[in-house]
């Protein structure tokens, strides 16, 4: 049994807690949250050992692994503390608000040889996994351009914000929504290294941007456009998509549907010249416990398996999430120039 604790029982924290609560190899040893009501309910109805102070929880419960779903601004401090204590860490995204702090955590996790993962769940979605395989197959020819998009209805009217509206706390469309797109492009195409231009536009918010539009370039010189808007209420929920254009073909994919075009008969198995459409239902492996998408269960299962030594700790590492943080930082700085 992997003795696991949770720090931060908000929306994501509760979701992780439920998935891990049903995991046969996991024992939940403690939950830390500053909301008395949340810990009260979890104590009364789940029987979890709850704490207001995460340090006290770590002292008392000595977990093997810990999920960090506290607000992003606390990640640096909490994750450093966990690593120093020799605890494996799964942190929510984005990784760190401060790139320097993030770099130290990457180093520390490596030194301590601890399993480290960040919750960029798109990498556990069947369609995007298939995109990765297609890109690696080389059958698209030379990749010339990509578009990464995400739209959804988070801020759809003027309002007094919660933490999401405070840039110092990790609010804003760039950190919350665009981070997913950047991370996905870094994984599927190549890490973004240059920002040619960026617009961070407020639509309804006063203090943060509601949309991010940026012209970027990867380290291997592939150009791309990021278009992200969380004030888009024609979408029922967040929808993330990528388009990848090559000299011999093209991919358009979102979390549910994959459309692939090949110019010639030189195609990977399962595809043909012209358009092929595949659905996530054909590309997804069943999970043992489903809460809100296979990918949420799959990423936590991967984390637990990595601790058990059953899978390598190579997906969504601190390092890959830190590269995403770096791009976020570059976009912020570009905007200030």
């Amino acid at each position: 049994m992997i003795r696991t604790a949770l720090i931060g029982a908000g929306k994501m924290g509760l979701s992780h807690l439920s998935i891990l609560g049903a995991h046969p190899d996991v024992e939940i040893v403690g939950v830390a949250d500053t909301s008395k009501m949340v810990t009260d309910v979890l104590e009364k109805y789940s029987g979890f050992n709850c704490f207001a102070d995460y340090k006290k929880m770590l002292d008392a419960t000595k977990p093997d692994a810990c999920i960090v779903a506290a607000p992003t601004k606390y990640h640096g401090e909490i994750v450093a503390d966990l690593l120093k204590r020799g605890i494996h860490v799964f942190a929510e995204k984005p990784f760190c608000l401060n790139v320097k702090e993030g770099a130290e955590l990457v180093k520390l996790a490596k030194e301590k040889k601890l399993v480290n993962q960040v919750g960029y769940h798109n990498k556990f979605i069947g369609t995007f996994e298939e995109v990765k395989k297609l890109v690696q197959s080389g059958k698209l020819g030379e990749i010339t351009h990509f578009t990464g998009e995400a739209y959804g209805p988070v801020v759809i009217k003027k309002k007094q914000g919660t933490w999401r509206a405070d840039p110092k706390e990790g609010g804003g469309c760039l950190l919350d929504y665009a981070s997913h797109v950047i991370d996905l492009v870094n994984y599927l195409v190549a890490p973004i290294s240059k920002i040619h231009g960026a617009l961070l536009k407020p639509i309804y918010s006063d203090t943060v941007e509601d949309a991010v539009y940026s012209l970027v370039e990867t380290e291997n010189k592939i150009s791309g456009v990021l278009s992200v808007n969380w004030s888009e209420d024609t979408y029922r929920k967040m929808s993330t998509s990528v388009t990848i254009l090559g000299t011999k073909g093209k991919i358009i994919s979102d979390a549910s549907e994959l459309k692939v075009y090949f110019k010639t008969d030189d195609v990977p198995a399962g595809y043909s010249k012209g358009w092929t459409i595949k659905y996530v239902t054909d590309l997804t492996e069943e999970v043992d416990f489903y809460l809100r998408g296979e990918e949420y269960s799959a990423q936590l299962d991967y984390f637990i398996k990595a601790i058990q030594g059953k899978v390598p700790n190579i997906k969504n590492t601190f390092e890959s999430a830190w590269i995403t943080d770096r791009v976020i930082d570059q976009i912020k700085n570009q905007k200030n120039n």
Partner: protein, 293 residues
């Protein structure tokens, strides 16, 4: 429960395999009237039960139904609560406390918030009961013989092992609404174990059951075994496996399973509604004949 239940995903742009199809559906059903007309098509095929989320737009559908009691005298709705996106968006905007404050009716929180953070009452079950009442308001005067808890909440509570809350839901639906409680889940075998452990016998459980094994957590075998050997009133949903299986094949599989009391389906055109209903009747008849013969 009726053998065939008509669902509502198609009306609210819920499509598991294509965002484009979702958009096409949301255009088709932008008027509430079109939704009711499509429900009427299903009713004309003899499908008189509509199983739906407590979406804001259902409020208008209920109004229209109430205005024509004669026409809808045999019509039932199985509400499925809550419409989770409403609360999820509210939590994003207002936090957990703010959301409860906004949606729990009455002065309940007057005492709870007295003295800042100090809680006077710790009766969370009554908060849940008030939320159920709030969701049920729109169905006043409409026949709602079974009331469901949506899978996101059922499964969240299941993973968090909050079985007393699952039981409290069960008891309250019976006591207050004189209806049967039902649970939607993506983890049917695990849920059945949990419900039985708090003394709920033969529960109504609606879950994905399909030939592709889609969203049958833990695998098809354990689902099939549970249906064969355990006591529950199963409703099969997502029988087409999110579109992965041809309709006829999909329905044949579900109709041949033991212990599936009802089949829930959604379709937006007259042709597809008729086709699905006909397949179910056809395979049921065949099975009946085999049993008799």
């Amino acid at each position: 429960m009726d053998r065939i239940l008509y669902g509502d995903n198609q009306f609210f742009a819920v499509n598991h395999i294509s965002d484009e199809k979702s958009r096409a559906q949301s255009i088709k059903f932008k008027d509430d009237k079109t939704i009711l007309e499509t429900i009427d098509i299903a009713r004309n095929e003899g499908v008189e039960t509509f199983m739906c989320t407590t979406h804001d737009r259902i409020y208008n559908i209920c109004n229209m139904v109430r205005q024509d009691p004669e026409k809808y005298k045999n019509f039932s709705i199985y509400p499925c609560m809550p419409y989770a996106h409403k609360y999820a968006n509210a939590v994003t905007e207002l936090g957990i406390m703010g959301t409860i404050k906004q949606y729990v009716p009455g002065n309940f929180f007057g005492s709870l918030f007295k003295g800042g953070v100090a809680f006077v009452s710790k009766d969370y079950i009554s908060i849940m009961e008030l939320l159920i009442d709030a969701e049920m308001k729109m169905f006043k005067g409409i026949n709602t013989p079974v009331i469901f808890l949506q899978n996101v909440i059922t499964d969240l509570l299941l993973g968090l092992r909050m079985k007393d809350i699952l039981k409290a839901y069960h008891d309250y639906v019976i006591k207050k609404y004189n209806a049967e409680p039902g649970y939607i889940t993506m983890n049917m075998p695990m849920l059945l174990d949990t419900l039985e452990s708090v003394g709920i016998k033969n529960p109504i459980i609606c879950s994905s059951i399909n030939k592709a094994g889609f969203r049958m957590s833990g695998g098809m075998e354990i689902y099939e075994k549970t249906l064969r050997t355990r006591q529950l009133r199963a409703i099969a949903m997502q029988v087409l496996g999110g579109g992965a299986i041809p309709a006829k094949e999909a329905i044949e599989y579900v109709c041949n399973l033991p212990n599936v009391e009802s089949i829930l389906f959604g379709a937006s055109s007259k042709g597809n509604i008729q086709q699905t209903v006909n397949y179910i009747r056809e395979f049921d008849k065949k099975n009946m004949n085999q049993m008799v013969g």
